[in-house]
């Protein structure tokens, strides 16, 4: 009896282990309806004459409720006749999950908030895992119209092989596209100082911030120049690049990380980190560091830590984000610092985004049996009603139309339960977190980009802003990606590491020439050439 029991228990345990390795991710591709002969209308709703079901994967923002229960998507289903079963993966673990699905080739029909870099897009397109959307543009009247009307959009979303593989997030609102640098106006007023307009004046102001106790607490706890540099060491200088003439024709970024490449006045790609002018800039930053003007924690702190310092009234100058929302209550102390004129007479604000704000936002996979219907489903979001549904939610529940203008309701902007704007809005709209197919204009935008203080900040810099159309959206071919993969990271790391050492004084500037020489021993020219090709392709 006992023996039997033992055997039985062991068998159960065995089954348990086996179940553990069972395949749980295969639901997507296989469980598809056999019948694909559904009539898809090219305009008008519903999209399909009989309801169809798709499987979707989405990166869920923490402020948005489950997409399967979400009223905005319920509305979409009523409208279109397309039912989508969403697998919602929280933002934090999404990339791993997505990569895993691609690597194991168990794909859903559609991925929204897909966060694919152009390189990944090319790779999966080359694998045949995501389909070319331009084949289905007949079913995308809204997107097609936008592409036809705006050459920059077409250039921004077209891949090197001439196809479009993902839906973009398009944005026409200035307030969302310009990133600012902020100076503490209260401190300036306390000391009776003018806003600086040149780099030299900035230096004097920072010195005054350091020495004259602008926050009036009797302690020397002021941090004149503060940087959020933990994961982005280039933030130390990125926002000031325009004052030394870099990036005025656009920075070449193919992968949303700093590439050290910009376009010079002759349309040639240039490596910033070895220019003589850049050395001058590094000298300036080194001076700030040595004089104790720069926050010594700059390279190890993230946004939360900086926000805490800002709120403790310790920060004089800080570059970060399109608006001051992240500062919380201290936001009222800060105004946009005028665009600074550098030692060579350059004056520009280069930290702007393209109108094609993001690509790789939504893709249709090769597992999808209804690409036409799916394309139209995605395309709806590029119409005004679609973007409104996406950003503002449901009329009467989260927004209303007053005098032909959209307005968020009071229960959203001033939530009785104390929810923040994003949290309250996330119950009705899917917009919080961004990365969605949408066409954002000032008419439909109700975000912080429309706040009067953001508009005021834009007024200050408008004359010096790099035009949004100039921001290149270069795309590498699969071969170019592979080639770059072998050395690009080394070059970027080498430049970053050394420039950080020059700025912090760990390396003397006398060693600059040796650094440049060593850099030139690396395949920098190939690196530039590949990006030049990509840039020329983008221009064409």
């Amino acid at each position: 009896m006992k023996k039997l029991l033992t055997m039985f228990l062991a068998a159960i345990m065995l089954l348990g282990t086996m179940a553990g390795c069972g395949d749980t991710a295969s639901s997507g591709a296989s469980a598809q309806a056999q019948d694909t002969s559904v009539n898809v209308s090219q305009d008008g709703m519903p999209i399909v004459d009989e309801p169809i079901t798709l499987h979707g994967l989405v990166a869920l923002n923490a402020n948005v409720t489950d997409w399967n229960e979400h009223p905005a998507l319920k509305r979409m289903e009523e409208l279109t006749g397309i039912h989508i079963e969403w697998e919602c993966v929280p933002d934090e673990g999404f990339t791993e999950k997505r990569n895993l699905l691609f690597a194991s080739n168990t794909l859903p029909d559609i991925i929204v908030r897909a966060k694919l870099s152009p390189q990944e897009e090319m790779k999966y397109a080359a694998n045949g895992q995501i389909i070319a959307l331009d084949d289905y543009f007949d079913y995308a009247p809204n997107l097609k119209a936008l592409i036809d009307s705006d050459e920059a959009i077409r250039k921004g979303i077209t891949m090197p092989d001439g196809h479009v593989y993902s839906c973009p997030q398009l944005n026409k609102t200035e307030g969302n596209l310009i990133h600012h640098y902020w100076i503490n106006k209260t401190w300036l007023d306390n000391l009776g100082l003018e806003e600086p307009t040149t780099i030299d004046e900035l230096y004097d102001v920072l010195i005054a911030f350091r020495d004259q106790d602008p926050n009036g607490n009797g302690q020397k706890d002021e941090i004149p120049y503060c940087v959020v540099g933990k994961d982005y060491p280039h933030r130390m200088f990125y926002d000031l690049l325009g004052s030394w003439g870099f990036g005025v024709n656009g920075i070449v970024n193919s992968d949303y990380s700093f590439s050290w490449l910009d376009i010079d006045d002759n349309g040639k790609v240039r490596f910033i980190g070895r220019e003589e002018k850049f050395k001058n800039m590094v000298e300036f930053l080194n001076k700030l560091w040595e004089e104790g003007l720069t926050d010594k924690e700059s390279y190890s702190q993230d946004q939360t830590q900086v926000a805490a310092k800002v709120n403790a009234d310790q920060v004089g100058f800080v570059a970060r984000a399109q608006n001051t929302q992240w500062m919380g209550a201290a936001a009222e102390n800060y105004v946009q610092c005028p665009v600074l004129e550098g030692p060579y007479g350059d004056r520009a604000l280069i930290d702007v985004e393209s109108n094609v704000q993001m690509t790789g936002v939504a893709v249709i996979t090769s597992a999808n049996k209804y690409p036409e219907a799916t394309m139209r489903w995605l395309d709806y979001f590029y119409s005004e009603e679609g973007t409104v549904l996406c950003r503002l939610g449901i009329e009467g529940e989260s927004y209303e139309v007053v005098d032909g203008k959209y307005q968020l309701l009071d229960n959203i902007t001033n939530n009785p339960d104390g929810l923040t704007l994003d949290q309250a809005l996330g119950q009705w709209a899917i917009y919080p977190g961004g990365y969605l197919p949408q066409y954002v204009t000032d008419e439909v935008d109700q975000s912080a980009a429309q706040l009067p203080e953001t508009k005021a900040a834009n007024d200050v810099v408008r004359d010096y802003v790099v035009p949004f159309e100039k921001v290149p959206r270069v795309k590498l071919t699969e071969e170019e990606s592979i080639k770059l993969g072998t050395y690009a990271q080394d070059i970027v790391n080498y430049a970053t590491e050394n420039v950080v050492q020059f700025i912090t004084g760990e390396k003397s500037l006398d060693e600059w020439d040796a650094y440049v020489e060593e850099l030139n021993n690396m395949p920098v020219e190939d690196y530039i050439q590949i990006n030049q090709d990509a840039y020329d392709r983008w221009l064409a």
Binding site: T6, G16, S104, K296, Y299, G485, Q489
Partner: protein, 335 residues
């Protein structure tokens, strides 16, 4: 059950004995006897072997089966083609790693940090266990022990958060104290020179208590008669620790050491990555963070597999060498 296990161990040991010279018939008889003995042994402990099955399956499914995927270290992996179908690229992935500008620095940092970690964090649990063993009151012993291993349960993210709070340059506790004592504030978090020590000593704080448990168990199994005899002979406490306790746990310590050596190249990724910033990459860039940057971000599985393979080959070599040395010097070894 313990008896049965002992029986099994005894059986394996017996097999290793050198065989006396025998005639063919004798051999056959002995073999038959042996076989019969095995069968009875198996029969006696049938239930136990069933319990083994999950463990065997676990290793088969999660350790041996995945090994066939190692081949993508020499391929350009494409999910559509699958592991077998992907195109062979030969040594390309490995060469890309060897040719990397930072290759030697990566090796230096990885091995250096690991060895530093090993040398510092290895003796502490032993020391701690010896001390705990001398605590007279059992209640006190339990309290101290619990306190010492509690940090083990803090997640790495939180641990690094604590480090950031304590050591940051502006208003971290340590720096405030330094400033109060008239020293200059020091960027513990951003200094490349300080990084290895920050990494290692925070690890000691976190794990020494937990790792001491195994030594405490080993100490408990030392025959009390030895202590009694030593006491009668007039041995002092320190003498008893040195001549009874220490030799008593030495075999355990050696096994632990060999196991640790086998992990030298597998520098934990999370903690280094979380503690890394632009100012300390000089010492904080290790193989695993490099793989993350170069391989996983671009989901280049072939490349990361190649580096993983390289790591494991070095680990196995180290393990074998140290195992051999330990066997020669002290007679204790894994196999």
């Amino acid at each position: 059950m313990v008896k049965m296990l002992n029986g099994a161990v005894g059986f394996f040991k017996k097999q290793k004995d050198p065989k006396p010279i025998m005639s063919r018939e004798e051999k056959r008889a002995v073999n038959a006897l042996k076989r019969r003995r095995i069968r009875t042994k198996l029969n006696q402990s049938k239930g136990l072997y069933v319990f083994l099955i999950p463990a065997i399956l676990y290793f088969l499914v999660f350790c041996y089966l995945p090994m066939y995927g190692v081949q993508i270290a020499f391929k350009y992996y494409s999910p559509i083609e699958g592991i077998w179908g992907s195109q062979w690229t030969g040594m390309k992935n490995l060469n890309r790693f060897f040719d990397s500008y930072y290759f030697w620095r990566l090796i230096r940092n990885t091995v250096g940090l690991s060895l530093y970690n090993l040398i510092v964090s290895f003796p502490f649990p032993i020391l701690l266990a010896l001390i705990f063993n001398e605590v007279q009151s059992p209640k006190m012993k339990k309290v101290v022990q619990t306190i010492s291993y509690a940090p083990h349960f803090i997640s790495v993210v939180v641990l690094v958060g604590i480090l950031n709070l304590f050591f940051n340059q502006g208003n971290g506790l340590i720096n405030v104290l330094l400033a109060k004592m008239g020293f200059e504030k020091f960027g513990f978090l951003t200094s490349a020179a300080a990084f290895p020590s920050m990494y290692v000593w925070s690890g000691v704080w976190q794990n020494a208590g937990w790792n001491s448990i195994i030594y405490i168990a080993a100490l408990a199994s030392i025959d009390p008669q030895l202590h009694e005899a030593a006491q009668i002979d007039g041995a002092s406490r320190l003498q008893r620790i040195l001549h009874i306790n220490l030799p008593g746990i030495l075999p355990t310590a050696i096994i632990m050491f060999i196991l640790d050596i086998g992990q030298v190249m597998n520098m934990g990724f999370e903690k280094v990555f979380l503690m890394q910033n632009a100012q300390n990459t000089e010492t904080s860039q290790v193989i695993s963070t490099f793989v993350y940057e170069a391989g996983l971000i671009n989901s280049d599985y072939g490349f990361s597999t190649a580096i993983g393979l390289f790591n494991n080959v070095i680990n196995i070599i180290l393990l074998l060498v140290v195992n051999k040395l330990a066997k020669k010097i002290s007679g204790t070894s894994l196999f």
